[in-house]
Symmetry: C2
Subunit: 331 residues, 2 copies
C-alpha cells in the first residue's frame, strides 16, 4: 500500500505537505499540489481511512439503526438516505434491532465505538423510552430520528404528515361521492396512527359528515375482513384504512359479500405497499414516501441535526378501489 510518506520521498518534500495537498488545503502552492496529485495517481495511492479517522477522531461513516432492513419501508428509507450521504462522501453502517431493546443498545454501542459521524434511527418496539439512546451516544453525537421518534430527545426528527395525509385521503372519498365513511384505525398508542384517526375525523367534520364507523387496532387482513363485514351491515359505503393490509382483507370480504368496488363501496389504504398496485381492483393508498423520509433524514444530519421536527407530506395515490365517479360514468 502506497503511503503519503512514499509520495513525499518521491517528490523530495515532506509528508505534511503531501497531506495538505491531498486534502485540498489552501496552504500549499498550486504547482506543488499538482505534482502531488499526479504522483499519487501514478503510484495508485489511496488514503488509509483508518489512520485518517484515528487522527481526526471520527470516521466518515453514518450509522443507521432500524428494526428490520427487509421491510420495504425501512429499506427504502435507507436507500434514500444512502444516496444523499454517498453524494456527500459518507458511507453508511447499518444495524438491525429486530424490534428488541437489547439489540438497539448493542447497535448504538457499536456505532459509538466506531466513532461514526452521526446516527440516523427509528427505534424498536421494544424501546419503551429513549433514555438509553442519549446515555450511549452522549451529548456530542449528532442524532436524527425518523418515523418512530421520541420527541423529548435532542436532535432532528423527520416524520410523515399523518394528520394531513389522512385528511386528504378522507376528503378524496367524500369528493368521490361516498357519504357513509368509516375507518380502520391502527394502534392509537402509536403517534402515527393516532394522527391518522384525527385527520379522518377532521375531514368528515369539515364536510359536515359523521364517522359512520371506527374500528380500532385493525392492521392485518383478518381484522380488516371482520370490520368490513360489520361496516357493510351498518350501512357504510366507504372506508379509510390506516394500513394497506387491513384494507386488503376488507376488499376480499366485501367482494365475497357481493359488493362491487368502487361502485358500491370505496376504500383507501395507507402505506402504498407494492401489492396495492398489483391487486384487482388495485387499491388506492396514502403513500408514506420512505425514500423522501430517508433523504430528508440524511439532509438533516448534513445540516447539523439541529433540534426540530421536519414534516414530510404524504401523497395520495388514487387507483381503482376509490375511483367511484369514473366507474359510475363508464356504465
Amino acid at each position: 500500500m502506497v503511503t503519503i510518506t512514499e509520495i513525499a520521498q518521491a517528490l523530495g518534500i515532506t509528508p505534511s505537505t503531501v497531506s495538505r495537498a491531498l486534502s485540498g488545503s489552501p496552504r500549499v502552492k498550486a504547482s506543488t499540489k499538482e505534482a502531488v496529485l499526479r504522483k499519487a495517481a501514478e503510484l495508485g495511492y489511496e488514503r488509509n481511512v483508518m489512520a485518517s479517522n484515528l487522527r481526526k477522531g471520527r470516521s466518515d461513516i453514518v450509522g443507521i439503526v432500524v428494526p428490520r432492513i427487509n421491510r420495504e419501508f425501512f429499506s427504502s428509507v435507507i436507500s434514500g438516505a444512502e444516496s444523499v450521504l454517498n453524494e456527500a462522501g459518507l458511507s453508511v453502517l447499518i444495524c438491525q434491532t429486530h424490534e428488541r431493546y437489547e439489540d438497539e443498545v448493542r447497535a448504538l454501542r457499536t456505532l459509538k465505538n466506531n466513532r461514526v459521524s452521526g446516527v440516523i434511527m427509528s427505534h424498536s418496539i421494544g424501546s419503551k423510552d429513549g433514555t438509553h439512546i442519549l446515555e450511549i451516544l452522549g451529548d456530542e453525537m449528532p442524532l436524527v430520528q425518523f418515523d418512530r421518534v421520541f420527541s423529548y430527545l435532542r436532535g432532528a426528527k423527520i416524520v410523515n404528515d399523518n394528520f394531513e395525509g389522512a385528511y386528504k385521503a378522507t376528503c378524496h372519498l367524500v369528493e368521490e361521492g361516498y357519504r357513509h365513511i368509516g375507518t380502520l384505525a391502527g394502534y392509537l398508542n402509536s403517534a402515527a396512527y393516532a394522527l391518522r384517526l384525527k385527520g379522518f375525523r377532521r375531514a368528515l367534520a369539515d364536510a359536515g359528515l359523521e364517522p359512520a364507523a371506527e374500528y380500532m387496532d385493525s392492521i392485518v387482513p383478518e381484522t380488516g375482513r371482520a370490520a368490513a363485514l360489520d361496516a357493510l351491515r351498518s350501512g357504510c359505503d366507504a372506508l379509510y384504512s390506516a394500513g394497506d393490509f387491513s384494507a386488503l382483507g376488507a376488499i376480499r370480504a366485501l367482494q365475497e359479500a357481493g359488493s362491487r368496488i368502487p361502485e358500491d363501496f370505496g376504500i383507501v389504504g395507507t402505506a402504498n405497499e407494492s401489492f396495492t398496485a398489483l391487486m384487482s381492483p388495485s387499491l388506492s393508498s396514502l403513500a408514506l414516501n420512505p425514500r423522501e423520509l430517508g433523504r430528508q433524514s440524511a439532509q438533516a444530519f448534513l445540516d447539523g441535526a439541529a433540534d426540530g421536527e421536519i414534516i414530510v407530506p404524504m401523497e395520495l395515490v388514487i387507483r381503482q378501489s376509490s375511483n367511484h365517479k369514473q366507474a359510475i360514468c363508464q356504465k
Copy 2:
C-alpha cells in the same frame, strides 16, 4: 474517552498488560485480568476501534455490495448475512450500485479504503464482466459472491439451485394432474433463468411429456398476460413461470378469459414475492430463500471464502394456484 493508558495508571501497570487482558490473551495472570476488567467497567472504558483497526491493519467490518437494498430479495440477503456476522462480532457496511458499473467501482474502492475484512457481493447488471472487482480488491481481500456470480473469479459463490428448483416445481404440476405444461422463461443470458428452463425441460422429459409452450424473456405482468392467452389458445393447461410478476399477469389474463384457477389451469411462479400470498387465488411459488443465501454467504466469509460453489436449495411453496387435485375433490 477512557483509554487503556488510564486504566493502566489507575492500576499501576502498563498499557500492554491492559491490552492483553482486554483482548483475552492467555499471557496475563488471572487476578490481573480480573482487576483490569473491573476497572475498565468502572471507568466505562470502550475500545477505540479506529486505533485498534489502524494497528491491526484491518477493520471488523464486512462490506456488502448489492444493486439496490430496497428490493426484498437483496434486503433479505443482507438481513440474513448481518445476523450471522453480528454474532461473530463483525459489523456490516452496505453499498448500493443502482445496477451501475461506476457505482460498483466506487463502492468497492470505498470498502477497500476502509480496509474491510472482506466483501460479499452480487454484481450489478451494468458490470458485463468481473475483472474490475479483483483489480480493486487485490489478491488478499476475501471475496464472496452470491446469486449473480462471475464464476471465473476467486472466492466463494453462493447460488440457488435453480435447476433442481424448477425441476421440483414442474414435477409438482405433473403430479397435480396437469398434462400440457408450458413455461414463462426469463432472460437466458442470465444463468439463473437458463437453469430454470433446463430444470423445466428435464422434469417434463422425465415424466414422458413434451413442453407445451415456451415463452422467453417473460418477466413482467404484461408479457405474462400475452403469453398466457397464447398458451390457452394452444391448449396448455398449466405454466411454470420463472418469475412471480409474469405469473401474476398470466393469472389475471386467464381469469378474464374465463379460466378457473386451479381447476382449469395451474400456475407456479418463482421468487415467492410477498404478494403471492396475498393474491386471490394465491400463487404457488418457488422460494429463493434469500435469508439463507445471506446466512450462507456470511458463513462462507467466516470460513475463509475459499474457492468453490455452495448451492442453496429452493423451497416450493404450494398455494391455491396449483392445488388442482384438492380443488377438484372439493366439488
